[in-house]
Symmetry: C2
Subunit: 252 residues, 2 copies
DNA sequence: ATGATTCATTGATTTACATCAACTTTATGT
DNA sequence: ACATAAAGTTGATGTAAATCAATGAATCAT
């Protein structure tokens, strides 16, 4: 399922740059970027060895130096409250960028851990900023990505503030499905890399509630669930459960 | 209470630029910017006539052309769900910038209305972007502002997901207080420009709950409340009510 | 001013979800 | 392979906050 297939190309970067041959190319890069510009961008990106399940990409409080684009796998970001309990602030899938919330303060306000084996591109921010100065399209893309993040978070606020437990879970599943579709994975069946506890935490609910909801959704024929594996058997039904038409195609 | 005091300077822009003489100068502009740069930024900013209570700054779906910096007054932003009910996504005070969530999609994903008489600076985004290309400090500032917005929203997600009604209201009051302090207004007494309904909506609670909480906070000696006027009489107590030390000084 | 409308407060009742508890299934490590 | 731990499920009970309902205060319009 989308392993780090481009790793081999790295050193033998002959015809194409690694970025150009990456399957996430179209999602993670500004489409307007010229070949030469991509090559320049490619130069500043560091490819690090894959993370294993539970590995930290960075920890809350770490100095901020780089953004990270996810190539394969998945990441959860979370903050730790004073009392030590954690709050999941997001799940991040391939082509998405983590670390944007750190730009303001020069240290990471949240931690990021791999939910499964995950490979990322490290993008040193100083160099990205400098490059953005030269390439207008890149600068624009960066602003657009951040704008999208703001939009997603505001969307989430609406869900947390207004929606019932079943609406929240249904909406989350639809959003994940939609994101998989965007990456040309199956939108109708996938593995959830995160635990029920993480889902509950993210949605502001109790684990037991999530468990019960998965059971109910299955009983009602919306899903087939087997452990982490989820198959959406009634897409329209699930949409209705989510409170009608949250049109997840627009904002991830 | 912070009226549009600089309006007169506009046409008689003799010695200083309007931006430079604005009381929000230090908050809304990058500190590193040189005099000439400020002058250039100043040129692209349009100052429009003040909005009155209830006036729209923009409506959901409107084409996105400009960001808006609030000079005085306050704005609420909100989305309308399919069923027509609104969800307040933020309250915005002087020096804060609204419209950042529209950059991605070229139209506004939310509406913005004045909560009281409010004056704003309109900043055409195209021109700002072009200017950012020339002035590195401006570009950086823009990214930092967006990063801060992401951080604030994620913070809000934590509150909505995890905190009790009393914690949410206490935290909101502290955050507002903190923002007033930053702008050199009194942090211990202020007028809430938004209605109880808006507060309830924003916090994902019922109006009645807000009402009861204001009464209780007053009974317990944390606040003195008279209609929109709020005086914090026990700051530490309010912090405790908010669930201990959300240190509101860092992230607005 | 005066009635009409919107906004705010307070009480009584209901409910969605959390919490507590017991148990089962799936991972993990030696 | 086995023991131990972690994660997930299901049921019983409790509770915070929503909803319903009635009344009072403030703002708006004529």
């Amino acid at each position: 399922m989308g392993t780090a297939d481009n790793f081999i190309n790295l050193n033998s970067a002959s015809l194409k740059t690694a970025c150009e041959s990456c399957s996430l190319h179209q999602l993670c890069l500004p489409l307007e970027l010229a070949h030469d510009d991509i090559a320049e961008l490619d130069k500043i990106i560091k490819r690090t060895k894959p993370l294993h399940r539970g590995d930290y990409l960075f920890e809350m409080g770490d100095p901020f130096t780089s953004l990270y684009a996810i190539r394969s796998g998945s990441i959860k970001t979370f903050t730790s409250t004073d009392e030590g309990e954690e709050q999941v602030t997001g799940f991040h899938l391939p082509s998405e960028i983590v670390g944007l919330d750190a730009i303001i303060s020069s240290h990471h306000p949240c931690s990021a851990r791999a939910l499964e084996t995950t490979s990322v591109c490290e993008i040193p921010f100083e160099r990205l900023e400098a490059l953005g100065q030269k390439i207008p399209g890149l600068q624009r893309q960066l602003l657009r990505i951040m704008s999208k993040e703001i939009l997603t978070d505001q969307d989430m606020m609406v869900w947390l503030g207004k929606k019932s437990a079943e609406e929240r879970l249904a909406a989350l599943l639809l959003r994940i499905s939609s994101r998989f579709r965007d990456r040309n994975f199956s939108a109708m069946e996938f593995n959830l890399s995160m635990s029920r506890t993480d889902i509950a935490n993210y949605l502001g609910l109790a684990v037991e509630t999530i468990s019960r909801l998965f059971s109910r959704f299955q009983q009602e024929g919306l899903l087939r669930v087997d452990r982490k594996y989820v198959e959406i058997t009634d897409y329209e039904g699930l949409r209705q459960m989510a409170g009608i038409a949250p049109d997840c195609h627009h904002h991830q």
